[in-house]
């Protein structure tokens, strides 16, 4: 095969590609990259449905820029490398204009190089450990300073907690969050011996010894609380063991960052009443916007039993912001939309306004809720105003001096304010 032939073929395929692109121009394509099978399907299926609901609503309002929206759903099957493959498929074969997707950090990290390589645009709707900011991703979930730190503050100030159990599943989110929390607690004068850190494998089911240890740790006279970054499936046996061993929210309260309405719908919540969770959204918040959202969701999913949760609101905010940014930019071109996104405002479902900051993270209010008998949360604390999301933690030695700012002149996701350079820690 000579050089000419190769050139010819590539030119041909290029023209085919542009033709296809022109054809696709009739609709705006919205990619959905959430697992519909495998272990994460439990959480991610809901988010896929949320995006579909948002697309349907937007189309009822006449679409965007005079075009219909079309959702393209793929299933990365809870398989991390598959997120990269499917992201590539969405961007090259399907040529979507935006992607809503990912749940676990490892799946986001797997899709990230593809997004940067092909200049795609993704909205990531789940609370995560921070320490990242990409030009091609907007993070609409909470960063640690929008969830973990206010939660610890609440326990310290309101419940006068002095001893801390940091319990988590053994992977990147709990480990980083606990590292940040430990540094934060120490900066508040908590001694090393008053902090107990514990990690367990995914889907850990035998919690007897750990709960017994927590009980012993909490019986030494100081008010003790558990800060839980335990993920998904492991929560049910954990809470069951707590209540069986007589640990109640009054003796040792547990505050969780990964337990929301959806997770509680699989648990008998009677014994959990009073344990807490920190989020930016609760279904029980009584605002008109939220009641309408819950109503819409129930009729869309055709079930009265289904609940709404924080990542759903994050998806909602992300989608609304993207739609507004597309209108402002007058195009779905990634670079133009990315510029138009910064500064976008959307009303939160719980009241107040969410703002997209220069570091691609949101400013949102932080709520702390206590679990009720019906599986809902009752808000017991709310920050005054919104908290801006911090991409790089102020409490970790490596990232204290880092900021992310995607506006000129910095235009960098990991800018070191001391060395005034981009890309080095």
């Amino acid at each position: 095969m000579n050089l000419k032939k190769i050139l010819k073929i590539s030119a041909l395929s290029l023209s085919v590609a542009t033709a296809m692109a022109a054809q696709a121009g009739d609709t705006i394509k919205v990619g959905v990259l959430h697992s519909l099978s495998g272990s994460m399907a439990i959480s991610e299926t809901t988010l896929k449905d949320t995006v579909l609901m948002m697309v349907e609503e937007q189309n009822k309002k006449g679409g965007l820029l005079g075009k219909e929206l079309e959702a393209v759903v793929v299933d990365p099957a809870s398989n991390w490398p598959m997120f990269a493959e499917k992201a590539r498929e969405l961007l090259t074969t399907e040529e979507v204009d935006v992607i809503f997707g990912s749940w676990t950090s490892v799946s986001r990290k797997s899709a990230l190089p593809v997004l940067e390589e092909l200049n795609g645009l993704m909205f990531y709707p789940v609370q995560y450990e921070g320490e990242e900011s990409s030009k091609n991703i907007f993070y609409t979930g909470a960063a640690p300073n929008q969830q973990a730190i206010p939660a610890v503050d609440y326990l310290m100030d309101e419940l006068e907690v002095e001893r801390w159990v940091l319990a988590g599943t053994d992977y990147v989110y709990p480990r980083t969050t606990n590292k940040i929390l430990k540094a934060y607690l120490k900066s508040k004068g908590v001694a090393d011996k008053d902090i107990m850190v514990n990690y367990t494998p995914f889907s850990h089911s035998d919690w007897q010894s750990i709960v017994s240890d927590v009980k012993k740790f909490g019986s030494e006279g100081k008010k003790t609380a558990v800060v839980s970054t335990i993920n998904g499936d492991a929560n049910v046996p954990f809470y069951k063991e707590l209540s069986n061993q007589g640990v109640t929210s009054e003796t040792i309260p547990v505050i969780a960052f990964s337990v929301g309405e959806e997770e509680l719908s699989g648990i008998d919540t009677g014994p959990l009443v009073g344990h807490m969770a920190a989020w930016n959204y609760f279904q029980s918040v009584e605002t008109d916007a939220n009641e309408a959202f819950v109503e819409n969701w129930k009729s869309f999913i055709k079930s009265d039993e289904r609940v709404t949760n924080d990542p759903m609101e994050a998806t909602y905010i992300g989608f609304q912001m993207w739609a507004q940014a597309v209108v402002d930019a007058g195009t779905t071109d990634v670079d133009a939309v990315e510029k138009a996104m910064i500064g976008q405002e959307v009303k939160n479902l719980t009241g107040g306004t969410a703002v997209m900051n220069k570091n691609h993270h949101l400013s949102k209010p932080v709520l702390i809720g206590e679990i009720q008998e019906d599986g809902q949360f009752e808000v017991v604390f709310e920050t005054d105003g919104v908290v801006p999301g911090d991409a790089w933690s102020d409490y970790l030695p490596g990232s204290m001096d880092m900021i992310a700012d995607w506006t000129s002149p910095v235009e960098c996701g990991n800018y070191n304010t001391k060395t005034k350079s981009c890309g080095s820690k």
Binding site: D206, D268, E370
Partner: protein, 565 residues
């Protein structure tokens, strides 16, 4: 407007007084007598009313101080308000700020009743009332306040709990209340508890050596956390590196405290071992239950059944379905669920054997792949039929909670029942295998298929029944697991590796080996866990098994004789 409010509150007050005489609320009547003997002057009464009114527009963060004032007001109605508030049922009417007890009915309607008299006020609209919010801190306070009030309860157990709850809150008021109770108390157990509390108080406040020594003697050997903490604080204040340095304290008292503390620590450690042993047995029984079905299908029949975990999952879902079908008899649903799970899982097992496995005899690799495929199909089927979300399986009342042996050792009921249940299932299975003709045929076929066939045994039928039996037992395991873990599509995945580990470790084809392996792995895991953490404990156990299998490839109890080949 204000005048109307005051008038209303007066009415409210008279309502409360009526409740005393009529003793409509039994809870209320207990302390009413004591409190009514204390004359309540008029100013105090109105202040309590003002406080109650304030409760309806106080911020959550300021409510604690208000509740304290309420408790100190000595008003007889406080108890009822506190109890209602603790239950999360205290509401007020938006228009006139009247306090109400509101409880949700079956059909989600809100039934209001008078806080003090319990008299029903009918159904109220959701928008017309507002809940008085309670958070954790308030709940702790309310429970404490109620238990202080419960010092005068009728039941000796309640009084004992009240005394115990005061051990770490020995304020002058509480001590006076305890001394008063001590004088009229007749129950021995309560007396002992009061003596302990008073001894703790003496040690903290008295400076007389003999009194303090006597107090330490009372405290010696008690396992309650406040006792230990007080002794430790005393010792820590005076002892550095094993020698007494703070000479301002009485050395004799310190030495006695040190000895008492050692005594207590010794006991706590000993009970700690007992607890770990129980945890190990309990984990072992879960492993045994999960593995015992596999011991039949893999151990006896030699089928590498990767779908075994899904049989457990089917059993758990059967429990869920049974509970859905009999929502009013949840306490008994388990007894229906056990046979239901056995039959469903068994039936699925027979189907799998008839449709797939019988065509793959003697081809272990293909069997492995085929059953792995089946396991994925079953998981996805459950996702489609039920939903990818976990399902709620309610734990019956009699399986919740724990058996408290003493202050540091308590054993959860669900674990006890699962332990007993595992042993019963094991015994029943042994019986089937050793004493019935089916068991005989199963053993015959597994030892020498062609010989058994020529003796007139329907090997096909025996294969199907054996596989069904193994699967059915896995289904029963699912019923037990549904009580302690998630019921979701991934349930089986969590147990398949452990099951194979137990069967291989115990020796393939040997039920007793499975029993032994399950318990020894459980106990080893639980004794390692406190030292190494859960993640490392798992890894160490796995490494141990790998090394063990190098030395003894046939497991703990290998098959012997001609049948082993």
């Amino acid at each position: 407007m204000m005048a109307v409010g005051c008038l209303f509150l007066l009415l409210l007050g008279s309502g409360g007084a009526k409740a005393n005489s009529a003793s409509v609320s039994t809870e209320l009547s207990k302390d009413v007598e004591i409190n009514s003997s204390v004359p309540v002057d008029v100013t105090e009464r109105t202040s309590a009313e003002a406080l109650l009114e304030q409760l309806t527009h106080t911020k959550l963060s300021k409510a604690a101080a208000l509740l304290e004032q309420l408790e100190q007001s000595g008003d007889v109605r406080v108890r009822a308000v506190f109890q209602t508030m603790l239950d999360g049922a205290l509401y007020y009417q938006r228009d006139n700020r009247q306090l109400l007890a509101v409880r949700k009915g079956e059909d989600k309607s809100l039934n209001a009743s008078d806080v003090f008299s319990g008299e029903s006020l009918g159904v109220v609209a959701k928008k017309s009332v507002k809940k008085i919010r309670v958070n954790n801190r308030l709940r702790v306070y309310l429970r404490g306040a109620l238990s202080r009030l419960a010092l005068n309860a009728d039941s000796a157990d309640d009084r004992n709990i009240a005394v115990m709850s005061m051990l770490d809150k020995l304020s002058a008021d509480n001590v006076a209340a305890l001394q008063a109770l001590d004088e009229r108390e007749t129950n021995h157990e309560v007396k002992v508890s009061i003596a302990l509390a008073l001894a703790m108080n003496t040690l903290a406040t008295s400076s007389d050596r003999d009194q303090r020594l006597a107090a330490i003697e009372v405290m010696d050997g008690r396992l309650e956390a406040p006792v230990k903490n007080q002794l430790r604080a005393l010792v820590d204040s005076a002892v550095v590196d094993g020698s007494i340095v703070n000479s301002s304290l009485d050395t004799q008292v310190i030495a006695a405290a040190q000895k008492a503390l050692q005594n207590i620590d010794g006991k706590v450690t000993a009970y700690g071992y007992v607890e770990q042993l129980f945890f190990g047995l309990s984990l072992g029984s879960v492993l045994l239950l999960a593995a015992i079905g596999l011991a039949i299908t893999f151990g006896v029949m030699g089928v590498i059944n990767m779908a075994h975990g899904e049989m457990i999952m089917i059993g758990a879902y059967a429990t869920f379905v049974v509970q859905q079908l009999m929502p009013n008899f949840l306490e008994y649903s388990i007894w229906v669920a056990i046979p239901a799970a056995f039959l469903t899982a068994g039936l699925v097992g027979v189907l799998i054997e008839r449709c797939v496995i019988r065509y793959l005899h003697g081809r272990p690799l293909e069997t492995l792949l085929a059953t792995f495929g089946i396991s994925l199909i079953l998981q996805q089927a459950v996702r489609t039929i039920f939903s990818p979300l976990n399902q709620t399986v309610v734990t019956p009342e009699w399986m919740s909670g724990s058996l408290e042996i003493n202050a540091v050792l308590s054993i959860t009921y669900s674990r006890i029942y699962i332990f007993i249940f595992a042993l019963i299932v094991f015994a029943a299975l042994q019986l089937v295998m050793k004493k019935t003709s089916l068991g005989l045929q199963v053993r015959a076929v597994s030892q020498n298929r062609s010989m058994a066939k020529s003796m007139g045994i329907h090997t096909d039928r025996v294969d199907a029944l054996t596989f069904g039996l193994g699967s059915g037992i896995a289904g029963i395991a699912g019923v037990a697991l549904s009580q302690i873990t998630n019921v979701g599509p991934n349930l089986g995945q969590a147990y398949i590796i452990d099951s194979f580990m137990v069967v291989v470790f115990g020796g393939v084809g040997n039920l007793l080996g499975t029993l032994f392996a399950g318990f020894s792995l459980g106990i080893a895991n639980k004794f390692l866990e406190p030292a190494t953490g859960a993640v490392l404990a798992n890894i160490i156990v796995l490494i141990f098994i790998i090394l063990f299998m190098q030395k003894r490839p046939k497991g703990l109890f290998p098959q012997k004789g001609r049948a082993a080949e």
